[in-house]
Subunit: 463 residues, 2 copies
Amino acid sequence: MAVGKISEGSVYYDKPSKINNFLSRKRMKPIKVGLLGLGTVGYGAFRVLARNQEEIQRRAGRCIDVTKVAVRNVERAGKLVDGVCEVTDNPLNVVMDPEIDIVVETIGGDDPTLELVLKAIDNGKHVVTANKALLAVHGNEIFTAARKANVMVAFEAAVAGGIPIIKALREGLTANRIQWIAGIINGTTNFILSEMREKGLDFDVALQDAQRLGYAEADPTFDIEGVDAAHKATIMSAIAFGVPVQFNKAYVEGISKLSSIDIKYAEELGYRIKLLGITRRTDIGIELRVHPTLILAKRLIANVEGVMNAVLVHGDAVGATMYYGKGAGAEPTASAVIADIVDITRLHTADQENRVPYLAFQHDALSSMPVLPIEQIRTSYYLRLRVADQTGVLAEITRILANQNISIDALLQKESREGEPQTDIIILTHETQEKFINSAISCIEALDTVFSQVTRIRMETLS
Amino acid sequence: MAVGKISEGSVYYDKPSKINNFLSRKRMKPIKVGLLGLGTVGYGAFRVLARNQEEIQRRAGRCIDVTKVAVRNVERAGKLVDGVCEVTDNPLNVVMDPEIDIVVETIGGDDPTLELVLKAIDNGKHVVTANKALLAVHGNEIFTAARKANVMVAFEAAVAGGIPIIKALREGLTANRIQWIAGIINGTTNFILSEMREKGLDFDVALQDAQRLGYAEADPTFDIEGVDAAHKATIMSAIAFGVPVQFNKAYVEGISKLSSIDIKYAEELGYRIKLLGITRRTDIGIELRVHPTLILAKRLIANVEGVMNAVLVHGDAVGATMYYGKGAGAEPTASAVIADIVDITRLHTADQENRVPYLAFQHDALSSMPVLPIEQIRTSYYLRLRVADQTGVLAEITRILANQNISIDALLQKESREGEPQTDIIILTHETQEKFINSAISCIEALDTVFSQVTRIRMETLS
């Protein structure tokens, strides 16, 4: 039996003739791919397709050729693709090219991306995109157009980068009634939270570290304010529950106002604070929310640190499953984009009705379960109060909570510093509805023994 | 917009007519499923299909009907299926039934299972099985027959139960040159190891706990000796590297000889011991091995406790990804079986060449990279020696290791107990080849200052 060094990509076969005749067989024509954009994601996909072409072809059964790339800077792109494919500065040359089977959109944003994606679809191209913002906002329009044109739209890279979470939700867990999903789906904020906890840094300092290391953009708003995570949670929510994408209904709260003292107190109580994208099915509708969340430190997902992502999915049959990996970066994202390309080469000959539906559920079987306003969600809470260090204060506060039928799970009163008339009280509540906690907080803040605002952070048991 | 209680499975739609006309549409004929066996897995699949049929149909686009079940005890099965489908005591009535599209094998073992599966294939049935033993040993024969008959064979449930790891390896990571896989893929042994560590129990006691709780069988040999894990590792190895299944080449070592003192010493050094199924691509061949393994306690996978499973996969583009969930049980396994059934309904109209290959790689593009004998694998080691508490002993031992070019990463010498002339020495080595450690150990055991055998446990950095 032939044995060979395979680290350079050369592989030996029982009969060497086999692989040659396999690689050269003309039986199946190559799949032609056009790239829109050659930035981090676009060039990452181009590079990985080139490096692993033999391995990918041995799986897909046919050659995947990038035949055309549309970019702003033709000269720079020309150097990168080095004559392997045509380079144009006009994206229409890609989306209208009759030779191209699959258009891969890596431009980002929605202008002119939406228009280009719709044009590609109208021209009968299958589309692969990593653009969560586009799908979370314009997904329904795009999927409707794609169904009419009988083409596929794949977007594994749009959520959690290289982790095949869309495939797991859409195909791996089809047997399940999915009950909830909770994910660390933004690496920038997870890195900042890890830094704040491990080094006791304040948010601003940790953010600067993240920017210096290239984990946060010059304008980090989309990441730190939770918008990026909400785009991803919106897409997972639609696929999990068979509802349209409805980003405008999502509750979005970032980490920019999070204070390091709360991370410290949470740790003292055995918890870690993570920015979670959460979507849950309830009797009255769907919860769809992104916010800092206390999680028991012993939970596996609480130990996902740095820029890593992880998504916890709970189905009625399978129970809890978790998917962990890199949520961003050129090659992890490329890994997801290429998986979509291979999926399309596999499914494009199947009847449309037998393909995987865009949102996991058949277009005419979507549910109209409403997304609940945040006041109607149910969870437990961490409250931090600055109070006068005198008798009776705690009695007043607990009475207010009792009046709202909020029961206390744990309470931590910090010793006031030498000669200080004020002290911190931390309260962990049992599950209640957000509107009750809101009323309780406003009553508590009205007490003249309570100073400054009450800090409120949501908690999840994830069990 | 209609809002409704959905916990009982009733879902509301924008136009109630929609769902009715969707559920009742005759356009797509139901997929007919025949079950071989109605035990834990078989009845689990039957139950979940019934409970979630509406949700599953909204995804699959068509009805999935179990039309026939073959069992030993017809009376018992009759009560379970309660008239929903036909019950027979002759499996041939299922595999030969011209009406049936998919045969789901849940009998286990290989006699008469292999014969039945091949008969079903010859009769043009697609096959779904959870039978890792069957596939790890007879997989090549089964897949060859299936290709000739132009049918699919799906086996998500064969590895890590409800975790969609086969789908991740075969489809989610197609862009990657997979470098290695390391998995906790046997819940029984992971439960026993957790008990031994958390409660300081000896193996025999922990095994009895597992048996009392139903996590270990009356004859636990297959689990505790690593055979079950090796079946699963063999299947993952084939899919990851595009090689035939070759269980007979796997190195298999269980946990029955593991002593609680080593778990204790490992913890003192910052490690945990897990039974890992490992397969790795090297320049000279493939490593395929199952054995107790020291892992740094801070690694996420080291914190997977109890009966839970987790598989860590390293690809060149995506980096490390991990998949976590329940590896056994009626409904988690059913979740995987049903996902396979839905996949088949989606792909059965695609050209065979465009379907997902049985082993992830096209049949004519498999590699003949050899599986390496254990002496040729490279890893690092934990060694425990019982030595005379006198000067010079350590010098002799370190000289022997140096002679084999084995460098020491850490060394722990325990204080000998009051008046005891012997003491324990624990050595952690850097990476070396197994044959060098073997020579070193035999030299060390020959020293008259070393008592009893040297305990050797392999270590993995998983980075």
